[in-house]
Each structure stands twice: as structure tokens, then as C-alpha cells.
């Protein structure tokens, strides 16, 4: 049996409802958040559209090289405050 090239996301990451999202619209810069995929990040910008925030990784268990890099996090990517 051939190996699946694109395995589905891990159960831990995938088990959330489509409505299971944080209200991120008012998160100020400097807020520390925990991400659904694991890891911790700091909010560095907020367009206040309720959908996205700019983040910088503080911890990234799957890929430590990303620590310090910047990214966008979607509302369903955020599971809580640190």
C-alpha cells in the first residue's frame, strides 16, 4: 500500500468546531496567545477584522526555527491567552 503523501491533520489539531474561535478583534499588541497547533505567540498587529492577527512565534514545538518569525493567525488558530 502506497504511503499517503498528504496525511490528514492530526486529531488533536483537527478536533474543533468551525465556530470554535476566539474573539480576537480587540487583542492589543503584546498579547500572548496559545495556538491550536501548539506553540505560543505574541500579537504584533491587529487589523481588527475579527479574522486575523499578526503574530511573532515565541515557542514552536514542531519547528523551533520559526521562533522569532512573523506570521498571520486565523481566529480558529487561537485557543487561548497565555
Amino acid at each position: 500500500m502506497a504511503e499517503r503523501r498528504n496525511p490528514p491533520p492530526s486529531r488533536a489539531v483537527d478536533q474543533f468546531s468551525i465556530t470554535d474561535s476566539m474573539m480576537i478583534q480587540d487583542f492589543p499588541e503584546g498579547t500572548k496567545i496559545r495556538l491550536r497547533a501548539g506553540g505560543v505567540a505574541e500579537v504584533i498587529g491587529n487589523p481588527r477584522d475579527g479574522a486575523w492577527i499578526f503574530i511573532r512565534y515565541l515557542e514552536h514545538p514542531e519547528d523551533p526555527s520559526k521562533i522569532g518569525s512573523e506570521d498571520l493567525a486565523f481566529c480558529t488558530d487561537v485557543v487561548g491567552l497565555v
Binding site: P9, D49, A51, W52, L72, T76
Partner: protein, 451 residues
């Protein structure tokens, strides 16, 4: 690509527009197929006015504009660069911005959440790592940007056609005239700012009624605008018999119809008999601070242009915009029988607030949806269109014969064709260029330099 129903081969489109003899079929104003062809052949290829840099002064500022029927965003990105994007998400087409203007770090589609940076890059795709497995090539799905953009002394123009000539080549001999349209009243380049917001309203008429007649139809003034002249509501009151435009200078000059037939640009022009800028004519008697300000600016302009002839024209940049006289008039096609009319009002960047207020109030009572002159004009445009729709009516031609055969060149305004000031030379020029665009397969045929 829209099917071109009236092709170059059968010459039938040319049969509808005989600009040389001044016979123009009403079909070109009322026919749905021809309208669809205009969107493709004209608005898909010509340089179009988008806005002004003063509308987006800061990083993240945006202004929602239009090109033809389509919404576009004029955006200053976070590095300060200007862009013009089609306002549609690349995922499923939703508008990524529904505000007229503002400031934003991102343009986030409200449908599924695809999100674009201010430079147009697709930067956010929900569930990118999970559902998309990280495989979506974000670099290929950014906002669709215009093929070319030009910042012409603060005014922003764009075209969808990568093969279009430069904006300056598109303008040809009209460059100096348009440059002066964006001068401050002291003669300084890029001296204007735009008032916000823009006035927008829809007219039940074809876009060419206003677009091809404005600043090219001096004959209508005495009849259509008689009431405004009687009311003497112009900037100088009853001076010059209450003329609605006012008197720019008391120096001897002659007004003409001036156009560039091969390019379609043109308007009402004036040739002075001496160089320089004439003395200030009292204009703002009811707002003394404005009168003092404009008098001072006039003197500065006179210093700048001492010894130079300021012949020229304010008028139409083909196909659908008029620039000059402290306003930009823009007529967007919005269906064969609907025109979305936009008015931008301008003022000197450095003018004191009372002067800006006086200027804004004057322009609002002069033109726009509540202005006296355009209320007059709309009566004509809005009734001429339905009166041209009927089965019998549309068999008839419009008459554009005023001044046919009497145009001439004048060395004082190279590149322009002149005719008597009350005529239809400008309208024939726009119709000629309209026909060029409708027939031409590419810019290789449209660019006079390549003819």
C-alpha cells in the same frame, strides 16, 4: 473576450459613426451589444482616472474607486508604494473591501477569510496547513493588479492593458494642459488635494451623453444654463453678465474648441494675445479671506509664468473624465442606460481652512447632484436617452454637424485642432477615437506613433 458583433470586417460599426460628416446613429448610445463591446474595447484598454495621492496619504490608506463597471482599490502599501487592485477575492470573487475609503493592515474577504496584504499579496488562508496541507501557492493568488499605473502630478491613472503606451504618450499634446489642471493656484506642480468624500450618484442615461458632451458643447450653455446666468450665482456674481464660469483674466484672449482628434482629448481652450498671467479678477467678494488668498496666489503664478504663453485647454481625457476648474468629473458606465457619476473637488493643499470651506461650498452649489449647473444638464441627458430608445427613434441619427469642415491647426497650440468656440469639434473628436477603440484589435493599431 466579448464577441464583437459589429466587426471591422463588415464595417457596419463605421456605418453608424460618420464623424467626418457629423452623422451618428443613436444605436451607439442605446444598443446593449455595443455597450458590452465598449467595456471590453475601451474600458479594458484605455488609461482611466482612478484618484489622487492626497486621498491615500498614509501607509494602509485605501480609496475604493472604479474602472469601467468594476470596483478597484487605490492603496498605499505599508512601504508607501501606491497600487491599484481589482476589488475581488481570488477565491470566490467576493469584494475584499466594501468601504469607500479608510485605513487597513489587511483586506480580508468576509466570505471564507482569504486575506491580502496592502501590497496585494495573499498572506492569509484559513486552514492553510490543515485543509490545504500547506500546498496552495499563495504567490499565484494575490489581488489582481492593473497592468500599468501612472502618478501624473499627484493624479493616479491606470490601465488593464500591458501593451498600452505610457500615460504621457496616451495624452500626447494634452500633457501640458492636464499638468496645469493639477497645479495649485500659485502655479506649483501637484499643488492640490481632494476633498473627501466623493459625490456619487446614478443617472438614467448612457455614459457618452455626459462623457462626450461635457467641455465640448458650448452651444448648450445659453439655453440649458440660462437660469443660472440670470441668477448670477457664478463666483463673481453679476460680473460679465452673471457668467457661471466667471472671468479668468481681463487680458485679451479668444476661446476655441480645441481637440486632438487622433487621441480624443480636448475641451474649451483659450489663446492669449500676450504671455504671462493676467492680473487677478476679484472673485470671492463674499469671503474676503479667500479673495485675499487667491489674489496672493495669482501674483505668485504670474511670477512663475512671466514671459510664457499659457495657451491651453481644460477638458476631457478620453474616454470619460473631465479635469479642471477645481473639479474632476467622472462618468462610469453602469449598464447601457445607467451612468454612475462621480465628482471630486479640489483645492490648494496649503490653503487656510476658511478658503477650503469657501471652495467646497462653492463647488457643491455649482455642480454635482445638488449643484445648479448639473441639475440643468441632467434634465437633458436623462430625457434624451429614453427619447432615443424607441423603435422609430433609434432609426434616426444624431446631428453633430456644427462646424464640420472648418477645423484648422494653429502653430500657437501644436498638436491641437481648433474650431469656433461654439461647435461640436470636440464631440466629433471623441466619437472618432471611440470608433478607433471599438474597431482596433490591439494598441498596435491604436497608438498614433505606430500608424
Amino acid at each position: 473576450m466579448v464577441h464583437i458583433s459589429r466587426s471591422r470586417q463588415d464595417r457596419s460599426l463605421r456605418d453608424l459613426v460618420d464623424w467626418e460628416q457629423g452623422h451618428v446613429s443613436r444605436e451607439i448610445y442605446v444598443n446593449e451589444d455595443i455597450y458590452q463591446q465598449e467595456l471590453e474595447q475601451i474600458f479594458g484598454r484605455a488609461w482611466l482616472f482612478v484618484g489622487h495621492e492626497s486621498q491615500v496619504p498614509n501607509p494602509g490608506d485605501f480609496f475604493q474607486s472604479r474602472m469601467g463597471e468594476e470596483s478597484v482599490l487605490l492603496v498605499r502599501d505599508r512601504k508607501g508604494e501606491l497600487h491599484v487592485f481589482l476589488n475581488t477575492c481570488r477565491h470566490r470573487g467576493m469584494k475584499v473591501c466594501r468601504y469607500d475609503e479608510g485605513n487597513s493592515l489587511l483586506f480580508t474577504c468576509p466570505f471564507h477569510g482569504w486575506s491580502y496584504d496592502t501590497d496585494g499579496r495573499l498572506v492569509g488562508v484559513p486552514n492553510f496547513q490543515t485543509a490545504y496541507r500547506g500546498e496552495l501557492d499563495k504567490s499565484a493568488w494575490g489581488l489582481h493588479e492593473v497592468a500599468q499605473m501612472s502618478n501624473f502630478y499627484g493624479s493616479i491613472w491606470a490601465t488593464w492593458d500591458p501593451k498600452a503606451p505610457s500615460f504621457e504618450d496616451f495624452l500626447g499634446a494634452f500633457v501640458p494642459s492636464l499638468r496645469r489642471s493639477f497645479e495649485g493656484s500659485d502655479g506649483g506642480d501637484n499643488g492640490l488635494e481632494f476633498f473627501s468624500p466623493v459625490q456619487k450618484w446614478r443617472l438614467p442615461t448612457n455614459w457618452k451623453f455626459p462623457g462626450f458632451s461635457f467641455a465640448g458643447d458650448h452651444a448648450h450653455g445659453a439655453m440649458t444654463h440660462r437660469s443660472t446666468t440670470v441668477a448670477a450665482f457664478g463666483p463673481q456674481g453679476e460680473l460679465a453678465g452673471g457668467d457661471r464660469h466667471g472671468v479668468p483674466s481681463r487680458w485679451a484672449s479668444t476661446e476655441y474648441e480645441m481637440s486632438i482628434p487622433a487621441l480624443g482629448h480636448g475641451g474649451h481652450g483659450r489663446i492669449y494675445e500676450q504671455p504671462g498671467v493676467g492680473p487677478y479678477v476679484e472673485t470671492w467678494q463674499t469671503v474676503l479671506q479667500a479673495d485675499d488668498y487667491y489674489h496672493e496666489m495669482r501674483d505668485k503664478k504670474a511670477e512663475k509664468y512671466a514671459g510664457q504663453y499659457l495657451h491651453g485647454v481644460s477638458g476631457c481625457v478620453f474616454p470619460n473624465v473631465i479635469c479642471g476648474g477645481s473639479r474632476i468629473l467622472l462618468w462610469h458606465p453602469h449598464g447601457v442606460g445607467v451612468t454612475e457619476s462621480w465628482r471630486f473637488y479640489t483645492v490648494d493643499k496649503g490653503a487656510p481652512k476658511p478658503v477650503k470651506d469657501a471652495q467646497r461650498r462653492y463647488m457643491m452649489r455649482y455642480c454635482g447632484p445638488g449643484g445648479m449647473t448639473e441639475s440643468d444638464d441632467m434634465e437633458n441627458w436623462n430625457y434624451a436617452y429614453p427619447a432615443s430608445l424607441g423603435t422609430v427613434a433609434r432609426r434616426l441619427d444624431y446631428n453633430f454637424q456644427n462646424g464640420v469642415g472648418h477645423a484648422y491647426a494653429d502653430d500657437r497650440v501644436p498638436g491641437f485642432t481648433l474650431n469656433y468656440r461654439i461647435g461640436e469639434e470636440n464631440q466629433r473628436s471623441r466619437l472618432r477615437r471611440w470608433l478607433d477603440f471599438m474597431e482596433a484589435g490591439s494598441w498596435d493599431e491604436l497608438s498614433p506613433a505606430k500608424r
